[in-house]
Amino acid sequence: MSSTTVGVVGSGTMGSGIAQVVAQNGFNVLLFDIKEEIVIESLTRMRTRLEKLVEKGKILRDELEEINKRIQTSTDLSDMRVCQFVIEAAPEKLSIKKDIFQQLDKYCSEETILATNTSSLSITEIGSITRRPERVAGMHFFNPVPLMPLVEVIRGVITEEETVKALVQFAKALRKIPVTCEDTPGFIVNRIARPFYNEALKIHGERLATIEQIDRIMKKEGKFRMGPFELQDLIGIDINFSTTESVHQGFFGEERFRPHYYQQRMMQSGKLGRKAGVGYYNYDN
């Protein structure tokens, strides 16, 4: 296991979380981003997170040093040739991902499994631009990656069963809980969670209950940890809206997934939730 090197392409929130979890579980990591300063900054933030884990007693200082030693950075995609697995966590734009996969396909051995952390694009489409679509699959982590236990392993139309099995094993080695699913819009979680937000917005839109009431009811009657409006504020109303839009489009405008105009208005107003200091609720200190 310790000889396995995992490439992580993209060092944003998801990429750096994935790299951290991979390194914490004994694998070597090669973390890529397009610019030296971006990847170094990402690594610095990861070290701060790991340092906090040491302070909390979750990991030993010796372990921290070992983890740090296992992480290398790169700004040259051809360095990924040494990897047995590559997980792409670049921005959610098909053109960017296609470009990355074409390059990875060229540099990596044909045995290497190429996984994408996309939450909204088609695994089949990304796989089809490589010469190894049978060794391309989705590996969808949840934010924050070090804390959320789930990984959706997504089978494209051409993905081989061996690839799925290898990624399921790999997810278990990361001490995550893998589930497998077909390449369909929103996969499992982002699809089935849509009504939690969308129907809450519709009930509020019809003035059947207030935002505060809906959140209170879902927590005290339904035992959800957070209400649908509080949770949108936490996720970011813009992010939540774009997930709904992408599932809606993925199903060719299926009525069940139609976004609510009020959510779009919230997004347009810049009241995006906690990160903006205001969303459905106020977060001014």
């Binding site: 077909e182 009504p195 059947l208 009431q213 959800f224």
Partner: protein, 246 residues
Amino acid sequence: MTTKLRVSVVGDGSLTESIIMGLKTRGHDVVSGNEIKKQEKDIDLVIETTNLDLDRKKNNLQEIEPFIGQDVLILSTCLGVTATETASWLKYPSRLVGFAAFAPWEGAELIEVAPALQTNSTYLDHTRQFFQLLGKEIEIVDDEVGLVFPRILSLIINEAVFALTEGIASAEDIDIAMTKGTNYPMGPLAWADEIGIDDVYAVLAGLYRNLGEDRYRPAPKLRKMVHAGWLGKKSGKGFYNYKIEE
């Protein structure tokens, strides 16, 4: 309202047993519909829980109404029908108040209550006092099928059933994904088994009938499960198999 109540619970919704149990453990008398018709006892309150068979719900209410005082509060579940439509079946509609909860309701701190358009607000006060006696807060919302929590959860379950029937993942993986990927208290399919498939279907069918939008169309598998009597835990079979105790 006196502290020892005589309550008649009629109907066959999944909540019925929980409600009767809750009343009895708090020392209230539970009187069956037949007892009321025979004994002509005074009662304080009627609770009607039928959700799926609306003709039966209407019959239950119309049969009992002549035997109770015209100002006796009637609490009626609005999982499959609005409080307003239910009140329209009565001779004295202003005493009807709707409420919604899913079984098992023991863990719920809060129950949603909705007045019908016809409801006289004094009955809302009675309703609040009654639920307080049972240890529940209430939240008063507007009247529409399924109110808030049962409506939202039924739609989540419906989407999970569509995903299951489309073969995108197994029932187990769907439930794991929703508890581990987004912190749901239960996976939607196991949750449906816990609630009763008939009550979940009643909400979806009621919303679809009343609002006419495709987003409420019940997944065909749910309808078939109701017909087959696969109602979840209480019948030993739903999305999962259960051993029936006793």
